[in-house]
């Protein structure tokens, strides 16, 4: 059939040179300072979780603890702990979303930062208005999308998984760090 090349001209015409690429918005070091501006030291206390701890985190946090190891930095000011900076990844629509949660003593969210976000929609998750909704939350709060945390249309899956992730990290704090202080 002579006509096949003509059928593919239209999609071929859309070929363009812009390359898709991952975008890192904040490094871990920048995010640590953003959440704990008064800290003068950060100590790497990355934790290897036992199976029992992962099950306990899932039970308290309400979602699966996917990772066996969790990157955690203890923020200190004049040698005293002022919080924990936890780095996590959750499933987005295409790629993992890398974010970090700052947890103050007592298990209260001090702040969250989105480090890497590669999804089609939902860049609003990086904006302060959405992130500040998590400040002050504890593991006892609902942390429910369209409840105490607003949804962002087009990024519902990302919002849902970040919200569930924050609650899971609060559970991780309770299981691993709260009683070790």
């Amino acid at each position: 059939m002579r006509s096949i090349p003509a059928l593919i001209v239209l999609p071929a015409a859309f070929a363009a040179g812009a390359a898709a690429g991952a975008q890192e918005y904040l490094s871990q070091a920048e995010a640590r300072k953003a959440i704990f501006p008064d800290a003068d030291a950060f100590v790497d206390v990355t934790v290897a979780l036992t199976d029992a701890q992962r099950q306990a985190i899932q039970k308290l946090g309400g979602s699966r603890q996917r990772w066996k190891s969790q990157v955690v930095w203890r923020a200190e000011q004049e040698g005293k702990p002022v919080g924990w900076f936890v780095v996590d990844e959750v499933v987005g629509k295409h790629e993992f979303i890398t974010y970090a949660v700052g947890i103050a003593p007592g298990g209260v969210v001090q702040g969250i930062e989105i480090l890497v976000y590669r999804e089609t929609y939902g860049y609003q998750v990086r904006e302060a208005d959405w992130r500040k909704r998590f400040v002050g939350k504890t593991v006892k709060d609902p942390l429910q999308l369209d409840g105490d945390i607003p949804n962002i249309t087009g990024a519902t899956l990302s919002c849902r998984n970040v919200t569930a992730g924050v609650k899971r990290l609060l559970a991780l704090y309770e299981i691993v760090f709260a009683h070790a202080q």
């Binding site: 002579r2 003509a6 999609p11 859309f14 363009a16 812009a18 898709a20 959750v90 089609t120 929609y121």
Partner: protein, 293 residues
């Protein structure tokens, strides 16, 4: 046909964002955000009727816009190319035909999301489509059709969204009008009176993200059609795999569906009567590329 897919695959590097179709035929129930605008290009190859040489290609260019976070609309323009040689079927395929892309029809559609899959237990949407066509997709002859199609779309996420289940169920009603053709064989049946068709369709699909941006899927479609002249004209089961890649800028889905069962009308001398090969083919191949603006 391989050339077609290879060239279409080179399209994919574009500066755009995507709201995707993870599968080739079964549609998901994710809403399009308000004020988002999408462009799709879909190419489908329909190949093989068991006798002779049959291949038809449909190319659809579609634009979709989100009016609200739950309500979107789209318009589409379709073209068709066809080559059919060595197969004449009374009432369906009157003669050999071979022509390049011709405009074949237009579509307008609306979609409303009642539930969204990431926030509610399941996603549920109603999709309503109006189609005006002027070429018969089976014979390539002139034929005016006006159709309405409605489908319920259901979607469920598992494993934090890595595993996606999709189901569709719907109907299609069509008013069709064929036109006289010169030099048909004596006694050849080619009705030119108005015809009504009612079709039912169900589809099921699973898609799994196995690597960053990459999804593999399986889907199956059941369709049946009733027509004024012959009552149950056809029923078919198709199934097959899909591969999907999605990034921030664009996405692509490639699907192969094969007919593994069918019935209703069949043509004299049809080598495999366990399939319906009058209005359907043995295989379909589809490539979709999507961009958002």
């Amino acid at each position: 046909m391989l050339c077609l897919f290879a060239v279409a695959a080179t399209v994919v590097v574009g500066d755009a964002r995507a709201d995707e179709n993870l599968l080739g035929y079964v549609k998901g129930a994710e809403p399009l955000p308000k004020k988002a605008f999408e462009l799709y290009e879909k190419i489908t190859a329909r190949v093989g009727k068991g006798t002779g040489d049959y291949q038809a290609y449909d190319a659809i260019t579609e634009f979709e816009y989100g009016f609200t976070d739950r309500f979107s609309g789209r318009i589409a323009f379709g073209a068709m190319a066809i080559e059919s040689q060595g197969l004449v079927i009374d009432g369906y395929l009157p003669k050999d035909v071979d022509y390049g892309p011709r405009m074949a029809g237009m579509e307008a559609a609306l979609k409303y999301n009642f539930l969204t899959p990431a926030k509610d237990p399941v996603g549920l949407a109603l999709d309503t489509e109006f189609v005006w066509g002027w070429l018969d997709p089976h014979s390539g002859q002139d034929k005016t059709t006006v159709s309405i199609e409605q489908k319920l779309l259901l979607q469920k996420y598992w494993l934090d969204g890595q595993l996606i289940f999709i189901a569709n169920a719907g109907y299609e009603m069509t008013h069709a009008q064929r036109y006289p053709i010169d030099d048909l064989p004596p006694g050849f049946d080619w009705p030119t009176g108005a015809e009504m068709e009612i079709g039912l369709q169900t589809g099921l699909g699973l898609s799994y993200r196995f690597a960053r941006g990459w999804f593999v899927g399986l889907e199956t479609l059941y369709e049946s059609e009733y027509e004024t002249e012959v009552d149950l004209e056809r029923w078919t089961w198709f199934g097959g795999p899909s591969i999907h890649y999605g990034s921030k800028k664009w996405w692509l889905t490639a699907t192969w569906l094969t007919q593994f069962a069918g019935g209703g009308e069949f043509y004299p001398g049809q080598p495999d009567t366990s399939l319906h090969l009058i209005e359907k083919t043995e295989n379909e191949y589809r490539l979709k590329v999507g961009f958002n603006f």
